[in-house]
């Protein structure tokens, strides 16, 4: 049995942790927030009657496997302060936050949720993955108050507060997997697209969140924004490459995932509401499916419009609609109207990538993604390179192999 440290509890981290534990190893997961699972938990299923292979359900399975495993312990609200080499082992120290939930002991009885005076505890339950999460930003213990209400209420003794709000740890492990995920591009930077300013302009991530609860996107009514209440949008535009393939932003790389999520989402929306007008404004459609040509042909058949060229600006019309400034094929300015505009925002390196690199002695590529040349430290998932869920899973398994070898 060996001991491994997995940094990040998203798709890649969860996959590696679960698989390593199943092979008999002890795995520590460090998660910087109080919530397991990373971004994938806010993604929606993009199936119609047939699956579009987005992998969100698979990601839930992988993370659930890891959390349930008795040999996996999760340290949330964690931060690494020091990394040392101890012969063949790597010694990592830092702190994690209390209260800490032992996810493989928690029985989902919800007593802690009721007991928490600050309402900091919530529960996630979807796709067979169920766990309890703590918001450390509002937790009283973290605010310096004396509170152990959740731990006292837990009949399973799955919540620990020993050691105060920040508890120090030092682990010596045989290998480290860094899977800290990614940030999304902040579209406020591209002010002309109206994000944050115009109701009805939302990011792909926000659309995912809405569509994981319902199968329509809300049109802005009376100035109301990305709220799920409201009337279904009848016309939706997806603007691709927002913050990707853009040298002016020093982001001239493809984010790999936006074509996949936008096209899958538009297929799902169109199948549920065949009358809907959906247009995808794009530069190049990336090939993301194992059998892609029939997939794209299906979108054409469904009547999803593909418009080459990225709108340069989004404005509000006199009514409640949004007007996109585009170039027509002759190069003349034209406009197109939609109810809702989804900005397919790109992938950015995770917050703290530089810190992670300096702690472990890793390199950053020109865009800030992590790379490792060290034998005992591997990088997997989107913190190394933008990639989809299935690729993240594959990269995590490949990295895990290098660690066990």
């Amino acid at each position: 049995m060996k001991r491994y440290l997995v940094i990040g509890s998203g798709v890649a981290g969860g996959t590696a942790a679960g698989e390593l534990a199943r092979q008999g190893h002890k795995v520590f997961i460090l998660e910087s927030t109080g919530r397991i699972g990373g971004k994938v938990l806010s993604y929606c299923c993009k199936a119609t009657d047939s699956c579009s292979r987005c992998g969100v359900c698979v990601a839930h399975d992988r993370i659930a496997d890891a959390l349930r495993h008795p040999r996996v312990s999760v340290m949330t609200g964690a931060r690494i302060e020091k990394v040392e080499s101890g012969g063949r082992a790597t010694i990592v120290s830092g702190f994690f936050s209390n209260p800490r939930i032992a996810h493989n002991i928690c029985t989902d009885c919800k007593a802690c949720i009721e007991a928490c005076p600050a309402g900091s505890i919530s529960r996630y339950s979807r796709g067979g993955l169920t766990f309890t999460a703590i918001d450390y930003t509002s937790c009283l213990l973290q605010k310096g108050k004396k509170c152990s209400a959740c731990a006292d209420a837990c009949p399973a003794d799955a919540i620990r507060t020993a050691g105060g709000p920040k508890r120090r740890f030092t682990v010596a492990v045989d290998g480290v997997l860094i899977a800290t995920g990614h940030e999304t591009f902040n579209p406020v930077v591209k002010a002309r697209l109206g994000y944050g300013r115009l109701p009805g302009v939302m990011t792909g991530l926000e659309a995912e969140q809405v569509l994981s609860r319902q199968d329509w996107l809300p049109a802005p009514v009376n100035g109301g924004g990305g709220d799920s209440a409201g009337v279904p949008a009848r016309s939706v535009a997806f603007i691709q490459c927002v913050g990707s393939r853009d040298p002016r932003l020093k982001r001239n790389f493809c984010s790999s995932v936006c074509c996949a999520y936008a096209l899958r989402m538009s297929r799902m929306l169109k199948a549920r509401n065949p009358d809907m007008d959906i247009a995808v404004y794009y530069i190049d459609i990336q090939n993301f499916d194992k059998v892609f040509t029939p997939f794209r042909a299906e979108l054409d058949r469904m009547g999803i419009r593909f418009v080459r060229g990225i709108p340069s600006a989004v404005a509000r019309t006199g009514g409640q609609r949004l007007s996109l400034l585009i170039e027509d094929p002759e190069g003349k300015r034209a406009t197109a109207e939609h109810d809702v505009v989804v900005l397919s925002i790109g992938v950015a390196p995770p917050e703290g990538a530089a810190e992670m690199a300096s702690l472990f002695g890793l390199e950053l590529d020109e865009f800030g993604f992590l790379r490792s040349n060290l034998a005992g430290v591997r990088v997997a998932g989107t913190c190394g390179e933008p990639q989809g869920i299935i690729d993240s899973i594959a990269s995590a398994r490949a990295a895990a192999l290098e660690l066990v070898r």
Partner: protein, 132 residues
């Protein structure tokens, strides 16, 4: 005269990889109370004979929930289920009954809200179409 179908007379057979996982999240939802909810390993386990037998023995309707196509853990199960539902529907038509007493829905483990909608819709359909 229309009567309300008693929930207990509706049989829902949920694939344990999709519908069942979705059900577990919303098992206490009022919409789902009192239904006969059963876990099956895969929608491909269901065959026409079983569906007809359930109806024959008093089920008001059978809702089968499987994974979206190409998402079946067992690869072919939901395609097989679709064919077998067609056999059951043909038999119901022959018997002079409503072929929609059996229904197949494809949804993923993440779609508990759609499971609830599917159940409510099926209940509503049976309520509207039950005669006595």
């Amino acid at each position: 005269m229309k009567t309300s179908v008693r929930a207990g007379q509706i049989t829902t057979l949920l694939c344990e990889n999709s519908g069942w996982k979705a059900y577990v999240e919303i098992g206490l939802d009022p919409a789902l109370q009192g239904l006969d909810v059963q876990k099956i390993p895969c929608s491909g386990r269901v065959d026409a004979g079983l569906l007809l037998a359930l109806l024959e023995r008093g089920s008001a309707g059978v809702l089968v929930v499987g994974c979206p196509k190409d998402n079946c853990t067992y690869l072919q199960g939901n395609y097989r289920a679709e064919k077998r539902l067609a056999v059951a529907r043909a038999a119901l038509r022959e018997a002079g009954l409503d072929e929609n007493l059996v229904r197949l829905e494809f949804l993923s483990s993440l779609d508990s809200c759609r499971l609830r909608d599917a159940v409510l819709d099926f209940k509503r359909y049976l309520d509207d179409h039950s005669s006595s």
